[in-house]
């Protein structure tokens, strides 16, 4: 494709006005903003319920079951409790930074959802650089978290925030490289186009990419086993040690909204987004998000927390080379062309490649000295 064609294509594509909407752009904007805020808040509540109940059952407990039927109102009760609490700001805190941090952490998470399609074409802005936009915007909430750590003037907060920054810097690379594999196959950066291109879910064509993205994504949003920044056995509560009341609620919301966002991105990139038989597309999307989140809860319950050097070693010695290899193999496959009638063969080949790669690199990972810095 020539450069001129590319420009025209981009210009046409950037027109954000859906012609069939009465009133055009503004109605579209208003409608989807309300939908996104509602979606994020309800999903966060549902997801907190799933996490607490699911984790409880996995630990042979029942989880919260006192508030409402089956404890369904537990997130509401939690929210009311935390909102009524006193807002305490430390004397030595940097007041402005301390106040701004939760807002800065929360805004980018909502902004991620602008480019995630709920149905074919049903999204706030069908950016042609959608996934690049997500990569850019999702890192901003780290700034909010670092502000919280710095503004609290507490050693534990600062340590937690430092760990978070270190983790984000390291895990961003395998995360992006895993995305590039998907983009190569789909041939587009727009999330809607990526979903349209998924005749078969990309988890089958990119099993290694999925594993890498899942691990790096969990580390990016600091879910267990990578939750070093709020490791309560080491550094009290990490960056939100000095937060209480509504500001703490905001951070709590950010934590789960980020988990929902990563689940939504995984569902869109690897599980075929809104595609699915029988059920309406938006319901398929929600189901897939919940399935991905459930897997996150599952790994969280199972795995113990990593040490900080193990965290860094896992990023740089395992995920990073693996994602480079994944990218290389995918590029070769795309260059050779996809035999569409033999797609099941490609799926098997890819799964076999993933298994051998993981085995070989696990062996090599021990030669590299695991968490140790010197080899």
């Amino acid at each position: 494709m020539a450069i001129a064609d590319l420009n025209i294509y981009n210009l046409v594509h950037l027109q954000p006005i859906p012609p069939d909407w009465p009133g055009g752009f503004w109605w579209h904007w208003l409608f989807f903003t309300v939908v996104i805020i509602g979606f994020v808040l309800t999903m966060v509540m549902g997801v907190i319920y799933i996490e607490r109940r699911g984790m409880g059952r996995m630990q042979s407990r029942l989880g919260p079951n006192r508030t409402g039927p089956f404890g369904l109102l537990q997130p509401v009760a939690d929210a009311v409790k935390v909102l009524l609490k006193e807002n305490i700001v430390p004397d030595a805190a940097d007041k402005l930074v301390h106040w701004l941090a939760p807002v800065i952490a929360f805004a980018p998470v909502l902004m991620i959802f602008t480019v995630i399609p709920f149905e074919n074409g049903a999204l706030l802005a069908d950016l042609n650089i959608g996934i690049l936009y997500i990569v850019a915007i999702s890192s901003v909430s780290t700034v909010g978290i670092f502000m919280a750590g710095w503004g609290s003037s507490n050693k534990y907060s600062l340590l937690g925030a430092m760990r978070n920054v270190a983790a984000i810097v390291s895990y961003e690379i395998p995360l992006v490289l895993a995305i590039v594999g998907v983009v190569l196959i789909a041939g587009s950066l727009s999330l809607n186009q990526i979903v349209v291109a998924q005749g078969i879910p990309f988890i089958l064509l990119q099993p290694l990419g999925f594993l890498l993205f899942f691990a790096a994504g969990c580390a990016e949003i600091n879910r267990s086993p990578f939750d070093l920044m709020e490791a309560d056995s080491e550094i009290v509560a990490g960056f939100h040690t000095e937060y209480s009341g509504m500001k703490f609620a905001m951070f709590y919301l950010v934590e789960y909204a980020e988990a929902v966002a990563i689940s939504a991105i995984i569902a869109t990139l690897f599980l075929g987004g809104w595609r699915g038989p029988l059920l309406p597309p938006w319901l398929w999307f929600v189901i897939k998000v919940i399935i991905v989140f459930f897997v996150m809860v599952w790994t969280r319950t199972t795995l113990p927390r990593l040490r900080i050097d193990q965290l860094m070693a896992f990023a740089w010695k395992f995920l990073f080379p693996m994602s480079l290899l994944n990218l290389f193999i995918t590029a070769l496959q795309v260059l050779a062309g996809w035999p569409t009638e033999l797609w099941w063969l490609m799926v098997m080949v890819n799964i076999a490649i993933t298994a051998t790669m993981v085995l070989i690199w696990s062996k090599f990972f021990f030669k590299l000295g695991r968490g140790r810095i010197e080899v």
């Binding site: 699911g54 059952r57 996995m58 630990q59 042979s60 029942l62 079951n65 319950t301 199972t302 085995l359």
Partner: protein
């Protein structure tokens, strides 16, 4: 080829957690569902038998906490002691059961109750009337195997785990 260091441990752990997800939870919903406690449970209260007690005061002497307070007077006509005051401060009681073991006439038992929290310290003191055996205030099987046999068997958590959902 050993797969011990190739992430097989993670897979094993994941199967364990998923099996627990479909298993019966081991907890019980306390106020509604209660487990049967041990037959020989040493409860927070003492139970005293008015007929068997001779007022010898051995229980008060053995009590390491000095929680038992007994005052007797002599009745010359029947040639025996009358217990005028018998009270236990259960706030001091450590449930060691020495008084029960020491009583030569088997007139003192530990109770089988465990919900004995009170709002005031004064309410913890058991008077004479609060120590008699009633249907609510059961006798524990501690030190009395014949009494233990009549109590219901203890519920074990193992039984709950294997129980059908």
């Amino acid at each position: 080829m050993k797969f011990e260091r190739y992430g097989i441990g993670i897979a094993k752990g994941l199967t364990v957690t998923i099996r627990h997800l479909f298993r019966h939870p081991t907890v019980s919903q306390y106020p509604e569902q209660r487990l049967n406690i041990s037959r020989r449970f040493r409860g927070n209260e003492l139970i005293w038998n008015l007929e068997k007690c001779t007022g010898c005061g051995t229980c008060a002497k053995t009590c390491p906490q000095g929680a038992i307070d007994i005052v007797t007077s002599t009745e010359m006509t029947e040639n025996k002691y009358v217990v005028e005051k018998y009270q236990v401060d259960t706030g001091y009681c450590i449930q060691c059961g020495l008084c029960v073991e020491a009583c030569p006439f088997e007139a003192l038992y530990l109770s089988h109750a465990f919900e004995c929290a009170k709002y005031r310290r004064g309410e913890l003191v058991q008077g004479k009337e609060d120590m008699l055996e009633t249907p609510e205030r059961k006798v524990s099987g501690y030190f009395f195997p014949d009494k233990a046999e009549k109590l219901p068997r203890q519920t074990l958590l193992v039984e709950k785990v294997t129980e059908k959902q």
